[in-house]
Symmetry: C2
Subunit: 475 residues, 2 copies
Amino acid sequence: MRFTNAFVQSGVCGPSRMSYYTGRYASTHGSSWNFVPLPLSERTLGDHLAAHGRPVHLIGKSHVTADAAGLAVRGIDPQSGAGRRAAAGGFQVVARHEDTPAHRRHYNAWLRERGYGGEDPWATHAAAAEGPGGETLPGWQMRHAHLPARVRAEHSETAYVSDLAVEFIRSAEQPWVLHLSYIKPHWPYMAPAPFHSMFRPDRSTLLPRSTDPDEHPVIAAYRQLDECRSFGREDVARHVRPAYMGLVAEIDRQLGRVLAALGESGQAAETLIIFSSDHGDFLGDRGLGEKELFYDEIQKVPLIVVDPDPLADAARGTVSDSLVEAVDVATTLVAALGLPVPEEWLEGRSLLPLLRRTEHSPRECVFSELDYSMREVRNFLGLPPLHPCRAWMARTAEWKYVHWQGFRPQLFDLQSDPREQRDLHGSAAHGAVRARMRERLFDWLATLKRRASADVALIERLGHGPPPGIHIGHW
Amino acid sequence: MRFTNAFVQSGVCGPSRMSYYTGRYASTHGSSWNFVPLPLSERTLGDHLAAHGRPVHLIGKSHVTADAAGLAVRGIDPQSGAGRRAAAGGFQVVARHEDTPAHRRHYNAWLRERGYGGEDPWATHAAAAEGPGGETLPGWQMRHAHLPARVRAEHSETAYVSDLAVEFIRSAEQPWVLHLSYIKPHWPYMAPAPFHSMFRPDRSTLLPRSTDPDEHPVIAAYRQLDECRSFGREDVARHVRPAYMGLVAEIDRQLGRVLAALGESGQAAETLIIFSSDHGDFLGDRGLGEKELFYDEIQKVPLIVVDPDPLADAARGTVSDSLVEAVDVATTLVAALGLPVPEEWLEGRSLLPLLRRTEHSPRECVFSELDYSMREVRNFLGLPPLHPCRAWMARTAEWKYVHWQGFRPQLFDLQSDPREQRDLHGSAAHGAVRARMRERLFDWLATLKRRASADVALIERLGHGPPPGIHIGHW
């Protein structure tokens, strides 16, 4: 089943992934931006499944930042079993591959075995092109995005991660759960041949910038970032897009290999597959670069679920326009494995009723959030480090409302203005809609599952009166 | 300085204390009711000060519930140093004394040394009276509240905890921080002689029950609890109040001993003292028993601060009607010790500017919350265990607004109706006030410090651009 209205919980890698992993919104799990450690008390899908003897293996990127300070305060040696497990985000790490030097060590070693030299072959080969004089042209400079990466396609990051997955699948003996996680498509925007030249710069459709002269002050500040200055130029956007599209084509090709391995090993008919992403990318849409903001290009992601259960046959191959969220994935996986859903922790809803056409109470609204304290945007706006640089989106099928703490809100009519070009923040006719959407946000903020440390059994027990030996108010 | 408008963050022991200890609101620290474990990632004043080599000692009650499940998920042995430290709430435990059998072991042993026999001398002597035939009359039955406890005054719980404090103060060699924490005044309502008979039942003024025929549905459900059924009878309230007042007189007497020991040891002139409580008690006011609800009798507590610094001399002995909160205590202590305030964690404001008459931005509003999921009230209302049985109070000098999730709000005009007898929830004339108070709650919910795992240094660093080696959006 393909979902056409699947939304992430934040338009940036770290918090979005932590929401997939914990099944909780960013305001609940607390890891509100990249590099913000996932607090020690949070539990990921890996933790929940491990409690039932089902490890969740990781191949690729997780973006989990270890809560080093939290470990220190609790007196836990980061090199101990408990310390390492917390730092791995509850995953059983097969191979971790991230866009930081420390976490691309394995890929670099793998590249060296294949004849790519230098200290950081990722930087000089996988994420770089070659100039006419044999010089290294770094992929960080987007002017080189039209050139092929200096690795063969079978040695790219995407190929490497896929090779590991194929090996994992072929050698699997027990039933398994795997988080197969690619970095690309992502910056540096550079694809290996033949993917670098599959698409034409002039065939891409760019969403125009709104003609509203009174742009939202935070969005105006985002435009001062390097990525928005660059992508604000149509020639840059058209130059880079073919590389990004090439990277998409590459992942399509590589995933085909992984799925083939699944088929060849005889496991396809019993494997649940969820394909999704942590956010979109403007690539010049609206004159913006990168991500984070609340437009659908960023917040709406691909989601395809293959449910091997015969109960899903009736709906197999169909398309659902139901509003679903990234937090739904963890709940779906726990439910699909037939394990009890830890409802005190998980904030998502299982997708199984949609996949199997059983009774289902649909979401009316999806939510996403942003913490821009750790962006230069905060400094552009003259705000101190601990200022609440936060925003929240509530989006129904009809309306998108964004609350910017300390700034005016945004409102878009998605029926008449699906490209979100006319901000109705000041429209007198829409006062009641804004109030209604704000109430949705209030309800959502008020009911986040912050009291996860009390399990349902305790709540049920105490709901029948005080614990044994305590007698309150007896005459 | 005595504060006449000091408010707790929840009208029940556990969450209120966790707010004092963490300097954070209950919706932030997550321990929303008694028995709800304080999540592993939370840090108490004990943790913050220990990081600077200043342990916070505990004598008496802390009400911290160990996060046993959290320790298990993280693979931490509860008997290890890390496990025991987390369970102690970051305190250095001198002696813990709580109203559970496990945590009154030391007091029971102490009583036995003094000749009180039986398996649980607390239950049969300290919290019991003696009948005419020598039989045990349990203090749990409030009909016995007029009788003296079966211990001598110097052997009561309050005396025991005070003895430990006196000993601690006398033997102290290093500068110290002590959390001296009494259970009483509290149920079972039973005071030792002569405190049991110091006050007269007929001299107490009972706040009347509101004559509003349309009582709030959750408050109506509270009235079905044993304590409210009993205290709903004026004769019961008048019977029990003298015992409660006797327990207040007793703590007054015993604290006098502790302060005398401080003076005799020569430490009085250099000791900061904060005297406060975790909540009030209805004792029949409004026909209610116990606590939890948002009336001032419960939410407003005594607060006296003795600041030994000469800078506080100008305001010494004065009374402040500024709105202050329990979360302010932790910030005050860190600041008074001259340590850096961990602003990413603490949600309170230092009281030092008030005490020392320096520049101060006053609070306009205080907040409190309630989680009644673990009360029979939830079952009376027919709500399932994970239903959001939550409520929040926003209170200014003029207005008190209570949002009950899923139920109508409450509004009181504290200027014209300081006894909170007329709920203006339905008053057409007060729509704008309700909207304004609701906005205060929205702002408060939106800005709780849930992203505490990112320290200010990280936020500052990233606010100047991506980490080294990452170059985003360069042409």
